[in-house]
């Protein structure tokens, strides 16, 4: 595995992002784009989660808000994943054996499970609670778990930079 990660690190793109090819500014630039995209991912998810908790956007149907916001979330998520992959490739051996890196992806995985439980669970009956308050307990739990998991993804993501 370590050798394979070494091969990833030796790719031209990895070297460029790392700054070995004379583009010292590339790593911070890719990081900056990663922050743009994660801001859109987290910011958009927060607005949906707060609605599930009944704390804001009470004048919007849950289904309508989801349809309006979540496509942007997915586009931003894909772009965050691409920029994140570039950052990973530049120091693959370091990041792969980093505890904070593992924790970040653990919480992203849990956020994904939570999303699926919500989507295939209480959200299938959203028509019956689209504009009622308080929102169903299952929806509030999904919103709170999502906020917690995504916050930890960002916290551990930031922490990676202090441990490598």
């Amino acid at each position: 595995m370590y050798e394979f990660l070494g091969k990833i690190q030796d790719l031209g793109l990895s070297q460029a992002v790392r700054g070995d090819l004379g583009y010292e500014w590339l790593f911070p630039i890719v990081e900056t784009f990663h922050v743009f995209f994660l801001a859109l991912v987290f910011g958009s998810i927060v607005m949906v989660d707060l609605r599930l908790l009944g704390l804001t956007s009470r004048d919007s149907l849950v289904s309508r808000l989801s349809r309006e916001v979540l496509p942007w979330t997915w586009v931003a998520f894909i772009l965050a994943a691409c920029s994140g992959t570039m950052l990973f490739m530049s120091k693959a051996q370091t990041y792969f054996y980093n505890r904070e890196f593992d924790l970040k992806f653990l919480f992203m995985f849990l956020a994904g499970i939570n999303m699926m439980v919500f989507h295939f669970g209480i959200y299938r009956k959203v028509g019956s609670w689209d504009s009622t308050f308080p929102t169903p307990a299952a929806a509030r739990v999904a919103g709170a778990v999502s906020l917690l998991c995504w916050s930890l993804v960002i916290v551990f993501g930031r922490w990676i930079g202090f441990t490598t």
Binding site: E24, A39, L40, F42, V46, T56, E68, W159
Partner: protein, 168 residues
């Protein structure tokens, strides 16, 4: 002229505390990112709506009334955590052009946002009707988005002071 001031801050007990307790800076930066993401999400929803590509289910005044309070709440947390980071690493902050550029742009975008939200609140009907909406609506959306992206960029580059000195 700011260097002696920065050097003085760096010797205060509070700064030494922030420097020596290892989790304070990463935690403060993490909260800073969570807040900027919340702010940027709220700003993006308003600006995309002004550009006609999102949040069509709500009028502009509804969206402004819902989202602007989140912008100010997030900005308050950003100022607080940013102050912690400045006290902890004053020299890094004050010598970097990225820091001063960021502060200048925050003042500009905050004033713009305040004037915009006041205008929407006092003339909701005018803003909600596409035919009477001020022509500056789209310009506001573009300038505000660009400024926030530039602020985030400067913020990230404060961490790379060498970038401004390694050149040439």
């Amino acid at each position: 002229m700011f260097r002696p001031f920065a050097d003085w801050i760096a010797t205060t007990k509070l700064s030494l505390l922030f420097q020596n307790v290892l989790w304070i800076i990463p935690l403060s930066q993490s909260i800073h990112i969570l807040s900027l993401a919340t702010l940027f999400g709220a700003v993006a929803m308003i600006n995309l709506r002004l550009l006609g590509v999102g949040s069509s289910g709500r009028s502009i005044s509804q969206l402004v009334n819902t989202m602007i309070p989140w912008v100010w709440r997030a900005l308050a947390v950003l100022l607080l955590t940013g102050t912690v980071q400045t006290i902890a690493e004053p020299v890094r902050q004050f010598v970097t052009p990225a820091f001063w550029g960021k502060m200048g742009m925050i003042v500009v975008v905050a004033i713009m946002t305040l004037l915009f939200s006041r205008s929407v609140r006092s003339n909701a009907a005018r803003w909600d009707n596409p035919t009477t909406r001020p022509g500056s609506a789209k310009a506001f959306a573009v300038v505000s988005t660009v400024l926030w992206l530039a602020i985030i960029t400067c913020g990230r580059f404060i961490g790379y002071t060498w970038f401004f000195y390694a050149q040439g």
